[in-house]
Every structure is written in structure tokens, then in C-alpha cells.
């Protein structure tokens, strides 16, 4: 069953220097219980895609086109009141920096009880019990005591657990996770991934995992969508995308990973750097960095669909 259907989403920022098309025609869908990895480099529009779904884009940014359907409901047409009722209840978000979600001057118990009571009519004691259970579920020892602690009394990894516990309070249908483990150490990242993976499977949530790290996504996601310059350039089942990428950008990313190269030999690299969002090249935005570019690439690239995969490239890899 389709949980989320995003189609032709466009989120643009009007700036004095011109229009920044941060998200420029992004489409994807997510089924219940499915994990999609949204991969891209800084400025590719992956985080803005997440914010747009939740209606959290601040001016001068604006969703200017496309549709977002969540459980069949059109979120772009939804009132602010309706969105507020959905956020934190049916859809939750986890950010890279947990201090973005946590108020430093309130104990985490107070904050979690507030989140529970914002969506449910419930006594304080019951709400507190619910918060305690949520902390226990994400592996925080002595949850009853920790409810009275303040965010600064937790380590970075523990804070991220608190943010995840808060996101899970109402067992949402959809979680949008924006680089939640990027700032964490390897062993702590692994702990968080392990918790999230277990909980997602247990509760049948849909999960959008936004990351720059293909390795994390390879371990976690069912499907992978690769973003470049505001668009999804390739999307498909995890193994297909990683083993036989069709877009030269995906192919370049996979080939440049140290593990894919012989030790001590030069890494296969993608030349150049990502274009500024204000001055994107005509046609395919990846053209100036691409080894396979041809005459057609000056035109706007349509999407090629070969279910279950799709890509945006005139000269895809793996076809001579």
C-alpha cells in the first residue's frame, strides 16, 4: 500500500540574486514498512525535499509545484492546523543535530509529555509513562530517572536517541530522518542504526533516510534514490542501483568508494564540483562533469522508466 506519493515536487527560493531551484521536479513513492535512502551531496536538495513534505520550508522558500499525498491526503492543500496535527503524530522527523529538536532549558520528560499531550487527551502521569516506555525502547538505561535530566546531561549519541524516542511516541506511519547519524562516531552510529532498523521493522513504519553516505544507505535501505542538483537522477531497488548504476553520477559515486578500488591506487574520481544552484548548466546539470555526455545532453533530460527502476540520462550506463 502506498504511504507517501510525491510527484513533480518543486521547492524554489526567491533570492535577490535569482531563483534557487533547490528541489526541481522530484517524484517518488514509499510503501508502508519500506525504507528509502535519499542520497546526495550538499546542495542537492535532499533535505529540502524532506522539509517540503512536512510543510516546514521557510520563506523565501516555497513549494511552487507538484503534489504530496500522504495516506491519500493531499498535504499541499492541507491547512496549517491539519499539518500541525499530522506532524509529530503520523509523520515525524529526526534531524542531524538533536539540539534542533530539544529545548535546552526543559527536562526531556517535560518535553516528551508535552509532545504526547499535544496529540492525545491523556493525564500527565499516563503521558509520562508513555515517554518512559519510549526511552526504554531506544535503549536508554534507567529511563524513569533520565526523564528528569536535561539535554546537556546526555552525550551526543544519547541525545539522538532521545530525539528518536520523541519521534516514535505516537508510532508514526512515516519518519523522515535527515542525516541523523552523520555527527556521531562509528560505533555510536551503528547503535542508532540498529535501533531504528529494529523499530521500523517492528512498527511497520515508512522511513525516508536522507544521507550523503552511500555505505550507510547500502546497509539500511530497500530502495535508493540519488539526487543531483535538485532532481532524482536515479532510483531503484538497492542492489540494482549499487551493482549496475544507470546514471553516470551514481556510477561515479560507487566507483570512487575506497572499498571499490585497489589499495594504494588512485581512486576513480568524478571531476569538477557540483554547480551552484543559481547557475546550473543548461540541459543535464551533470553534463560538465560527465565522461559520457553527448549532443543530446544540452536538452532537458526526461525520465526513463523501466520498472522497478528509473533514471534521467540520455546515455545511460550499461547500454552501448
Amino acid at each position: 500500500m502506498t504511504l507517501l506519493e510525491v510527484s513533480e515536487l518543486k521547492t524554489w527560493f526567491e533570492t535577490p540574486a535569482g531563483t534557487v531551484k533547490a528541489v526541481d521536479g522530484v517524484s517518488f513513492s514509499l510503501a508502508k514498512g519500506e525504507i528509502i535512502g535519499l542520497v546526495g551531496e550538499s546542495g542537492s536538495g535532499k533535505s529540502i525535499t524532506g522539509f517540503s513534505i512536512l510543510g516546514l520550508v521557510d520563506p523565501p522558500g516555497k513549494v511552487v509545484g507538484g503534489s504530496i499525498r500522504f495516506n491519500g491526503e493531499d498535504l499541499r492543500a492541507a491547512s496549517e492546523e491539519r499539518l500541525r496535527a499530522l506532524r509529530g503524530d503520523r509523520i515525524a522527523m529526526i534531524f542531524q543535530d538533536p539540539m534542533m529538536t530539544l529545548n535546552p532549558v526543559l527536562s526531556i520528560g517535560t518535553q516528551m509529555v508535552e509532545t504526547v499531550q499535544a496529540h492525545r487527551r491523556m493525564s500527565r502521569a499516563d503521558a509520562r509513562a508513555k515517554a518512559r516506555d519510549a526511552l526504554g525502547r531506544v535503549g536508554i538505561p534507567r529511563p524513569e530517572e533520565r526523564l528528569d535530566a536535561y539535554p546537556h546531561e546526555f552525550s551526543g549519541g544519547m541525545r539522538q536517541r532521545v530525539a528518536i524516542a520523541t519521534a516514535l511516541l505516537h508510532e508514526p506511519d512515516l519518519i523522515i530522518a535527515d542525516e541523523p547519524t552523520t555527527a556521531l562516531d562509528v560505533t555510536i552510529q551503528s547503535q542508532i542504526l540498529s535501533e531504528v532498523q529494529g523499530l521500523a521493522a517492528e512498527m511497520g513504519m515508512g522511513l525516508i533516510w536522507i544521507s550523503h553516505d552511500l555505505g550507510v544507505v547500502a546497509g539500511l535501505a530497500d530502495r535508493i534514490a540519488v539526487m543531483y542538483a535538485g532532481r532524482i537522477v536515479e532510483e531503484g531497488p538497492r542492489d540494482d542501483v549499487l551493482d549496475a548504476p544507470r546514471h553516470p553520477y551514481t556510477s561515479g559515486l560507487v566507483a570512487s568508494a575506497p572499498i571499490a578500488n585497489e589499495r594504494g591506487k588512485p581512486l576513480r574520481q568524478i571531476r569538477g564540483s557540483a554547480p551552484s544552484a543559481l547557475h546550473r548548466p543548461e540541459g543535464c546539470a551533470f553534463r560538465p562533469r560527465c565522461d559520457h555526455a553527448g549532443d543530446l545532453c544540452l536538452n532537458d533530460v526526461p525520465e526513463t522508466c523501466a520498472t522497478p527502476r528509473r533514471w534521467r540520462c540520455f546515455y545511460p550506463m550499461g547500454s552501448s
Binding site: 551503528s190 540498529s194 539500511l220
Partner: protein
Amino acid sequence: MTDILAAAEGVSKRFRHTPDFAERLAIRLGAAAEPATVHALDGVDLHIHRGEVVGLVGESGCGKSTLGRVIAGMLQPSEGRITRQGQDIRALRGADARKMRLATQIIFQDPMSSLNPRKRVSEIIGEAPRVHGLIPRREVRAEVGKLLATVGLDPTMADRYPHQFSGGQRQRIGIARALAVNPDFLICDESIAALDVSIQAQVINLFMDLRRQFNLTLLFISHDLSVVRHISDRVVIMYLGRVVEISPADTVFDAPRHPYTAALLEEIPRLDRRGRRFTAIKGEIPSPVNPPSGCHFHPRCPHAFDRCRLERPALKQVGAGQDVACHLNDGNGLIDTPSRQGE
């Protein structure tokens, strides 16, 4: 080859916050606690041979950056000594000390905060060789152009300011600045961590080129074990201020002999590890203010026994070029690594 370029011998570094007058008063009156001491480095021995690339890996708080700075002479060790070509760097004076400092250069993580935003690139790169009299003033411009070309930047960009460059280009400027004084030893402190994935590969390739071209010795500090394995000859793993394992880079993935190395290997995200069930090592990284007794890793170690809680394991050679600090190696020398169990 036993030509040792730089060495740390029994180096410890403790940081202690010096209380100001009000705090001293509060302590005297019993209203505040004595300031805590951070044990950043605890008896580290490391030899770096001329021409080799040593990778230094560990998680936050393990002391890898502190060790880099102590070796560079930017921080004084609390105990032990740093030698450069066999000479204690603290004993060097005058011209010798200056020469040593110029020969060792550091490249930092964030090129934006290590480049002066008000200076043009030509000044950033040209200042040090001019001030130290390495090149005459009128040749500075040509030299800057040559250095920019060396690191893969267009020499005509010499009159721009750092903010006019992308992150990857800024890091190249930082590298050109380091090369300007003809160092023989580069310390790269998380030099690629802030870069985008497609740019990381470019900068790693640049480091490998420069190493060959200028016959450099590199101490490559990173939290990313797969990058370190790729470019290093030897890999040094640190945990909470101590070296736990030193291993040749080509075998570090195959035969880890310290449980922490094994855990790190198990948990680095890799493209070839698909749809895995993440299983994490338990516990948090302890605080270096109050590290655990005995082996610092024992509270998180699946193999810990009584001796680990009491006695610090010494770094001992267990194989060709492989040194490990773990009591398990005193037995049959074999640990069941999680990676072997999982496969």
C-alpha cells in the same frame, strides 16, 4: 629501512583548566570542585619512518588530533618526548628549531576556518616562504602560481579570496600553503572529513600524487578506516588516549587482533554490506576525564576478563609489523572477531 623521521616516545598529554580567581576562591570555600584533568594521551609510542604514510584512526576523544599537534610541536607533551631525526624537538634552538617547524606542516579539517578570509590566496600561500626568506620577494608570484598548479587550481585565481572558492578548492589552497615551505612531513588532521563524497576522492588522489612527487611522509588522521586503509602503509588505531593496535594497512581488514579494531571494522558502513542487520557494540565511549581502569576498552569488550579490569595491556608485537595491546594475545593469540563470526 630504519630511517625514523619522527617519533613519539612515551608521550602523555593532560589538559587541566586553570581556575581564575573567583573559581579558586569557590574551591577554597568548598563551593566548587577541583577542575577535572582530561587525559588526552597516555603513554603513546609511535615511530614514523621516512617516506611512509601512517594512518591514525579513532573515534572522538581518542586523542588522535592531540597526538598530531604534539608531534608537530604545536603542543608540549606533559610527559615523554618527540624526536625529529633522532633529536628531541624541545632541545632545538634558533635556526634548527625554525627549520624543524617549517619541515612539519599541518592541514586542518575545515579550510574555511584555517584560511584568513581577508587575505588573497596569493598572500595566504606566499606569505610564509617570503617571511622565512625561502624565495626572493619578486619571485613569490611565480612560485604561488606554480603551487596552485601543483594542487590542481588555476594559477589565474591567485588574486581571489577564500570565500570565492568551493570547499574542495579551499582544501587545495590549504595544501598549497603547507607545501610552500618545502616540508618533508605533512600531518593531515581530518583533512577530507568536511568535503562532499565526490570531492573526497579527488583530494585523496591529490595527497597520493603529492606524496610521490615530493617524497613526503604523511601522518593521515581520520575517523574513516576505509579511507585510511586505502592511502596508508601502516594503520594505528587509538582508543581513549592509547594506541591499541598498529597494523600493516594491507592486512588490517583481514586480521584485527584487538577487539576494538574488530568492532570498528564490523561497524564501518560499506557499499558491499547490503541490507545488514546492524548489531552494535555496547556502551558509550567513556570520558577521558575519568577513563576506566586497566584496559580502557574493557567495559565495552565482549571478551573482557578479570585481568583486563586491573592491568593495562602493553603494546606487544604479535606478528609481522603488527603490535597489539590486548591481554587476549597472551593466550593462544587468537580472538574470535565479530567479523569472522558474522561471515
